[in-house]
Structure formats: structure tokens, C-alpha cells
């Protein structure tokens, strides 16, 4: 059964239409990540689920019950906030126990739960300290501890890692994912960081302008984006987009890049294009699908193209090289030793089996 079911949800802030008709179902035990740029409505959606904002239209069901008119405390949820929301005048222990005390839990049970949570999060030695005496990572652990002692139906995370530095963020990312595996609870996690979404989610819900642009497993969204927006949002470095023409010839179909190469499409791809008119198309190429020709043995569907490298960005094992495909700058992911410096001419292998074709009039991906 779905732990959370949202139907036709709308939310306005004055004249701003922040959430525009969201339908969403999160099964029990799932880790769902709401992701999108700032202002896409993801935090508003989460806050509406929590009951911190009222829904203007639509229903929210938690564990089968409509909760639209329930106060936050009656929704059986626990929440972790971006700025930790710890009480400066209470010790770590009291902060973690705060929610249990609201529910009149017996003192012995509170004590057991707080200590258990503290052990799980490796903060048992900090229980008598005050928040001002802790580092950012420790504060975030306490905030998570306050949520997990609460045996709630739904755990909500509102950008919990965005105040941490990069290294701590990586560490806490793993920690939260581990917690999810151990506790097996339904968690909904809001972030603007597509890497967090990719690495943590069972399901990514990608929001744009208050609507769900696409949802599915991380790999689904990565490999089969439904729109240009999704294709461009996920992946780092981002997908390359090249304006081109789709043309049909006797022996198949091609993508013709103005002032650039003609890239043949593989037979399997051509079959799915039957009935489509020729015309403008946007070619989407992920950097890892553009490689060095020598590294990529000749395979069907792989087009070759010689280009001068304009910019090289080494990252260690791989280097990102920028070159021109027609007028567009395209980033290729190469082995670090396949390219040495700008100006070098390299034969590139473009894997057209993985290329995405987008209809420029609708910005939707051509299936």
C-alpha cells in the first residue's frame, strides 16, 4: 500500500502558483527524492505534505487517511530541516527527546530510544553538550536523531545537507542511505543537487515550475529522459545539446549537424523513426558517450569525427575535453592519457546508439 498518495495538489502563495497539480504515490519503504531547481515547488510540496502549509486544492493521504485538515502533529511524520532546527537552550539529549516528550512517552523509554539513536548516529558522546558546541556535521546528526527516535510513518528531509561542506555532504549522504536501509521507513527527501538525487533515491521525482516533469528510478531518468529538461538536469557534466537536422536516405536516417558532420543512426533507432517527417532536431549526447576512437573498437552505430580539442579539464582518471560539433561546444569524457593539450586533433567516436533525439518544437524526447 502507498504510504503517501497525493492527488491534484495545488498551492498558491498569493499570486504565485507554486504547486500546479501534482499527483504522486510513494509506496511504503521507498526512498523518494524530490529534485529540481530552486523555485520549482519541491520544498513547498514537502511542507504541504508535512502540514506546515495548507493545500489549496487536491488531497493528501498518509497511510490511507486524508490528512488535509490535520495539524502537523497528527500526521505521523518526522522532519529534518535544512538549518537543523535545534533548540540552543537544550542539550543534545533534550533536543532528541523533545518530540518523544510531546507524546508523553515514559521516561525510561525516552532514555532507551535517545541512547539507541545516539549510538546509531555515533553521537553518544555528545548527549550532554549544547548545539553551539557542535560542528555542522554533528548538528545534522542530532537533527536526524531527533527524527529517527520518532517511529513515524513518513520521514521528510528538507535539503538537510546543503549547509555542509562537500566532504561532509558525501559522508552524510551515505549515512542517510544506510539509515534508510536499516530502518526500512518511507522517506521523502528534497534537494536541488542532482548528484544527491541520483545516489540516494529509489525513485526520483523531478519537479519543474510546480509540476512533475518526470519520475522513476535514477537510471530510468538518466537513460530514458522524457524531456530535454530532464536530460539536461541529470548528469554531470551535463548532456550536450546540438541543433541539427533529421534526414532520411535510402540506407537509413542521419543527423546532419550544420557546418559539421553527418552522423548515421543505427538501424534499430531508424525503425522507431518510421513515419516521422524530416526536419530540425536536437541531438543530445552525454559526455561519456563521446570517446576516443582508438578506445572504441568499431561498432555499429558509432560515428567517427575528427575535431580539434579547445579545452581540457582533467579530473584524474578521466579528462573532459571540449570540441566543436558544428556551432555547438560539446564535452567529451576521455581517458586522461588520450588527450594532452588544447589544439590537438583527435578522432572521436560518438555512440549514436545512446544519443537522444529531441523534437525542438515540444522539447520532448523522441522515443
Amino acid at each position: 500500500m502507498a504510504d503517501l498518495r497525493i492527488t491534484g495538489l495545488h498551492k498558491y502563495y498569493g499570486s504565485v502558483h507554486a504547486v500546479r497539480g501534482v499527483d504522486l504515490e510513494i509506496p511504503a519503504g521507498e526512498f523518494a527524492v524530490l529534485v529540481g531547481q530552486s523555485g520549482c515547488g519541491k520544498s513547498t510540496l514537502l511542507r504541504t505534505i508535512a502540514g506546515l502549509e495548507d493545500a489549496d486544492a487536491g488531497t493528501i493521504q498518509i497511510a490511507g487517511a486524508v490528512v488535509n485538515d490535520e495539524a502537523p502533529r497528527n500526521r505521523d511524520i518526522a522532519m529534518v530541516f535544512q538549518n537543523y532546527a535545534l533548540y540552543p537552550y537544550m542539550t543534545v539529549y533534550d533536543n532528541i527527546a523533545f518530540g518523544l516528550r510531546a507524546r508523553k512517552t515514559p521516561a525510561a523509554e525516552i532514555d532507551a530510544k535517545v541512547k539507541q539513536a545516539a549510538r546509531t548516529l555515533a553521537i553518544a558522546h555528545l548527549l550532554e553538550r549544547f548545539p553551539r558546541q557542535l560542528s555542522g556535521g554533528q548538528l545534522q546528526r542530532v537533527a536526524i536523531g531527533r527524527a529517527i527516535v520518532r517511529n513515524a510513518r513518513l520521514y521528510l528531509f528538507d535539503e538537510p545537507l546543503s549547509n555542509l561542506d562537500a566532504q561532509l555532504r558525501d559522508e552524510m549522504r551515505g549515512e542517510i542511505k544506510r539509515l534508510h536501509q536499516e530502518l526500512g521507513r518511507t522517506m521523502i527527501y528534497v534537494t536541488h543537487d542532482q548528484i544527491e538525487a541520483m545516489t540516494m533515491a529509489d525513485r526520483i521525482v523531478l519537479l519543474r515550475d510546480g509540476r512533475i516533469e518526470q519520475q522513476g528510478t535514477p537510471l530510468d531518468l538518466y537513460e530514458k529522459p522524457a524531456t530535454r529538461y530532464v536530460a539536461g538536469f541529470l548528469g554531470s557534466p551535463a548532456m550536450n545539446f546540438v541543433d541539427a537536422e533529421l534526414a532520411f536516405a535510402d540506407d537509413g536516417a542521419q543527423v546532419r549537424v550544420p557546418d559539421g558532420p553527418v552522423l548515421g543512426l543505427p538501424a534499430a533507432r531508424v525503425q522507431r523513426l518510421v513515419g516521422r517527417p524530416a526536419g530540425p532536431v536536437v541531438l543530445g549526447l552525454r559526455p561519456e558517450h563521446v570517446g576516443h576512437a582508438s578506445a572504441d573498437a568499431s561498432r555499429p552505430g558509432v560515428a567517427r569525427h575528427v575535431a580539434a580539442i579547445e579545452l581540457v579539464q582533467p579530473t584524474g582518471a578521466r579528462s573532459y575535453a571540449t570540441f566543436r560539433l558544428g556551432a555547438a561546444a560539446v564535452v567529451a569524457e576521455l581517458h586522461a592519457h588520450d588527450v594532452s593539450q588544447p589544439g590537438e586533433r583527435v578522432e572521436l567516436a560518438i555512440d549514436m546508439n545512446r544519443a537522444v533525439l529531441i523534437d525542438p518544437s515540444t522539447d520532448r524526447v523522441i522515443p
Partner: protein, 276 residues
């Protein structure tokens, strides 16, 4: 070397100026206390006597024997209760303004503008109203009036302190199982404790020092000490001994309050200053 000497000189000058200023401010209070212990002869002695021949409490004894000292009690009741009333109502109103944007953007400004009404403009209408209500010379009359007068100030100050509390602290408590009222007690008030105390002190001191309304609206039953002091200024002569003893009695409670609450007072003032 030269720089160090110059710094030392600056320090000496600064300290000297501070001491001089402090003495200038403290002297009238010192003089007030001294007069209250003096005999009539000593009060008018020339050249003035800096120290009374002996500490004598006769001036105070008269005040207690004649019952004049009860006016200090009246002041305590009126200022104390009106502070509690205006702090309670004002804090709730401030919370509503800060968190629910009650009345839109401008209600808060309108409320503080009420503080700018010159009391003299409304004292007689209020007097007539109070005559009609039968509230002249009653506790309830002055308590309500001072509460109403202090409300704008309390609302304005507390609204600022509440706005400084991150909303997520309250939201976390709401999610964790508390009601709005519990959130007020467990989160909001503890978070702005310094502001609460500072505002309460200013509110108390205002009511304590108020003179105009007390003069017009009291007779004998609930006259405050500020009114009582004026009774000692006579057409023929001024009762300096009583004036000073009464003034000392009127100063002590505020002195005690501020002494105990100084920590909050300073923080409250500086918080307000930063908010601007």
C-alpha cells in the same frame, strides 16, 4: 614607543571622562539619599553639609505613620499588574503579527503609531469617560490605561524579537507533536527570554514613572507615589525632607528590578539597536 605613550594618554583621558560623567550622573541621586537622612537644620545649612551628622530615619518614619508610604504600594500594584497584562496580551499579538502576518504589512506600523499620541491630548476625554464608568481613583482604571498605553511598545518590541527566531524551530516542534500554544511556551518564549525581560522592565518603568494620568485620574485611594511627591510642594514652603524620602522609596523598587535584571536589560537594548 611614541605610539604606546599616545595610547596610554588616550586611555587616561577616556577613563577620566567616563569617571567625570558617571559622577555627574550619580551626584543628584547621592544628594537625594543624603537629604532624606538629614534633619531640617542640616537640609538648609550653608555651606551645604555633604554628609548628615547621623543617619536618621525620622523622615521615613513620618511617611509610614501618616500612611503616605502606601502610595508606593499603589504604584507597585498598578505598574506590576499593568506590566503583566500588557506583556501577556502584547506578546500574543506580536506573535500573531510576526507569524501569521495578521493585518498585513502595515498593522504593526499603525500600532506603534499609537505610541506617538501626546498623552495631554487624550487625558481629559479619558477623565470624562472614567467619571462615567466610575473608574476614577480605582486600580482597574490606571491598570487598564497603562496596559493600553504600553501595548504598542510591547507589541513592537516583541514582534522584532519573534521575527528573529528561525521559523523552522517552531515548525520542528509542530511536527514533533506540539500545539501552537505549547510551541509558544516551549520554543518562542525561551528563545526570546532576554527580549521579554528587557521589554517588561521598560514597560514597568514607564508605568512606574507615569505622572500625568495618575495626577488626573486618582484622588486619595490609589494615588501613586509620583502624585504623592507633588503634595509636598506647598505655596508657603516645600517639605524637602518628605520629598527626598518619598523619592528614595520610589527609586528603590526600580533600582532593585534593574539590578537583578541588568543582564537582560543590556541585551534587550542592544538587540533592539541591531534591529534598528
Amino acid at each position: 614607543m611614541k605610539i604606546r605613550a599616545r595610547r596610554r594618554l588616550a586611555l587616561v583621558l577616556r577613563t577620566g571622562a567616563a569617571v567625570a560623567l558617571t559622577l555627574a550622573f550619580l551626584f543628584p541621586i547621592y544628594w537625594l539619599f543624603m537629604i532624606s537622612f538629614k534633619t531640617p537644620d542640616e537640609i538648609f545649612a550653608y555651606p551645604p553639609k555633604w554628609w548628615p551628622g547621623q543617619i536618621n530615619f525620622a523622615n521615613y518614619a513620618v511617611l509610614f505613620k501618616d500612611g503616605d508610604a502606601t502610595t508606593v504600594w499603589n504604584s507597585l500594584v498598578i505598574a506590576g499588574v499593568s506590566t503583566l497584562v500588557s506583556m501577556f496580551l502584547g506578546s500574543l499579538a506580536a506573535y500573531s503579527l510576526a507569524r501569521f502576518r495578521t493585518g498585513g504589512e502595515h498593522l504593526a506600523n499603525w500600532i506603534i503609531s499609537q505610541r506617538m499620541v501626546p498623552p495631554i491630548a487624550i487625558v481629559f476625554p479619558i477623565f470624562l469617560l472614567y467619571v462615567w464608568l466610575g473608574w476614577v481613583d480605582t486600580y482597574v482604571g490606571l491598570i487598564l490605561l497603562y496596559s493600553a498605553f504600553n501595548l504598542p511598545y510591547v507589541i513592537w518590541m516583541m514582534r522584532g524579537f519573534i521575527l528573529d527566531i528561525p521559523p523552522a524551530l517552531e515548525e520542528a516542534a509542530l511536527v514533533d507533536g506540539y500545539t501552537r500554544w505549547q510551541v509558544l511556551w516551549k520554543v518562542v518564549f525561551p528563545m526570546c527570554r532576554a527580549g521579554l525581560f528587557a521589554t517588561a522592565i521598560f514597560t514597568f518603568v514607564f508605568a512606574w514613572n507615569e505622572f500625568l494620568f495618575a495626577l488626573v485620574l486618582t484622588r486619595t485611594e490609589v494615588a501613586t507615589y509620583t502624585v504623592q511627591v507633588t503634595h509636598y510642594f506647598g505655596g508657603q514652603s516645600n517639605f524637602w525632607a518628605k520629598i527626598s524620602a518619598m523619592s528614595v522609596l520610589g527609586t528603590l523598587p526600580v533600582f532593585v528590578v534593574v539590578a537583578f535584571m541588568q543582564r537582560y536589560l543590556v541585551r534587550g537594548i542592544s538587540l533592539g539597536a541591531v534591529k534598528g
